[in-house]
Point group: C2
Chain length 96, copies 2
């Protein structure tokens, strides 16, 4: 299992319709067959300044690769992520 | 539910006995009654330079507060975390 997470901040104003729409439209990623346990998260620690997170799990590296190259993901990154996200960091985990 | 995560890097050499011992001894945190779903994680994304992570869940803020002030946590932070961790970031999530 590989858990892929990304913590991020949007360019949109907090509580805006554009923010709501981005978070809603991100659910399109769950249509990618290898995506498991997709979660949309609100980042609540005052010790960093990110606002949101996504978390998902893949069975193995092949499933992760299939996500990365899937047209739904490629389109979402190009059309939404690159234009609406101001700052992000990817963190991927495997269980020790 | 609040998911508390911390991504971190140790001062110890990769694969060293000191590294193994730190990760083993961190299991003491699972003795704190409000800690749920404690996970020790290896950070595997090449897009950041952290090496490990811990993840745990709390039922609510009171459970999180009880963890923060619990002597087992306070001692672990003072005796191990502050001396053996070189870099870390805390990220906390709630489900959207």
């Amino acid at each position: 299992m590989i858990r892929h997470t990304v913590v991020f901040t949007l360019k949109h104003a907090q509580g805006s319709e554009a923010e709501r729409k981005f978070l809603e439209d991100a659910l399109v990623l769950t249509r990618i067959p290898t995506v498991e346990k997709f979660e949309r998260l609100k980042q609540v620690s005052p010790k960093n300044d990110y606002a949101f997170g996504f978390s998902m799990e893949f069975a193995d590296q092949a499933a992760y690769d299939a996500y990365n190259t899937h047209p739904i993901h490629v389109d979402f990154v190009r059309d939404r992520w690159q234009t609406e996200v101001s700052k992000f960091m990817e963190i991927d985990y495997i269980l020790l």
